[in-house]
Symmetry: C2
Subunit: 205 residues, 2 copies
Amino acid sequence: MKSLSTGAVLAAGAELVREHGWNALSMRTVATRLGVTPMALYRHVPNADSLSSGVLSFIAEPIAEVTRSGDAFTDLEAWARRTHAALVPYPGAAAALLVRWFETSPALRAVDALLQSMHDEGVEGFEAVAAVNAVFMFALMRAQGEQSVRDAGVVKRTLHTAAVAYPLPRLTALAEHYTTARFDLHFDYGLRVLLDGIAARKAAS
Amino acid sequence: MKSLSTGAVLAAGAELVREHGWNALSMRTVATRLGVTPMALYRHVPNADSLSSGVLSFIAEPIAEVTRSGDAFTDLEAWARRTHAALVPYPGAAAALLVRWFETSPALRAVDALLQSMHDEGVEGFEAVAAVNAVFMFALMRAQGEQSVRDAGVVKRTLHTAAVAYPLPRLTALAEHYTTARFDLHFDYGLRVLLDGIAARKAAS
DNA sequence: ACCTGAACACCGTTCAAGT
DNA sequence: ACCTGAACACCGTTCAAGT
């Protein structure tokens, strides 16, 4: 199946990330998956870096949309849940987005829409920026954390190894909070703490 | 100057990151900097991945220490400021640590000490984990953001480019808040949001 | 216009060899 | 014990060539 297109290249890249993780993405792996020579991609994508950011935008497309319920906190919560769900299937994508969100169109559109929600709620200036930033980072970090910890026993193994050199009593005691097991619970809880903090701050002003 | 050591290899790696950024780090670049064959490093470091994490730990060593003032929130704030200052000279290190903090000894020790501060303040369980996590990620994101934005005009240039395809009115209006200059203000606000969230949470229970 | 093939400068890493 | 050198399988990318 020849006659490629930019869309086909990015879609193939996204599939590759879903199956083998963000680090497996390269000009050559995408080319092989498409049954084509690496050089063929240069007709549709300027270079490797552009392939990465293109695939990231392709993956992140579903997070651009923000539903408007009339209540900004409901919007933030709904967006965080959808974003978390959208990124978890693509190992390493959340981490990549965490570092490159400012060059990623769907992320920029999401932030803009969330800022609009806050604006309509009466939250302005850097309070709005910090609030949106906090929720944005939370959703991405949870998605990335869930992926990192997915291998069974990573937490305890790492803690055990590190504890040989240094005692980590509090971290060890709270290790359960860093595991995947009760992830939904912790996601809900953390998000609620965050939203309550923003709301309390707003009420105080 | 032959007769290497693990410490010398990691120190050379850190210097290389400081001068040319995290992406410049490799077996071969470190070897050349030490005036030695790439294979010579394998005597002191098991593989490339281990070189990366070793250099990251080397760079992050100063963030392990947490000063205890008696007030946990003072400790959090002081630690975040020192961490930010420690990571900014090493381009890309904060982003790397953001993804790999759980395998990095100084980061684990810092988190443990911060959890201890919260524990002594009477903040336990998930509240403590969420609070420390948020501050930790916040400090790293700001360090990384400051590096990313260091090139003059990145924010406005990116926004202008993105705005060709999609209007980003709120983001454009608030662009100044995403620049480096506002670090202190953002830090204070982020911390306050966190504390208010915990307080609201406790009041509700 | 679109894709191929050879080539080059990079990676990490194995294995055999030097001292 | 410590380092070197050749070799191999990967990268991204340029350039000339095919259709």
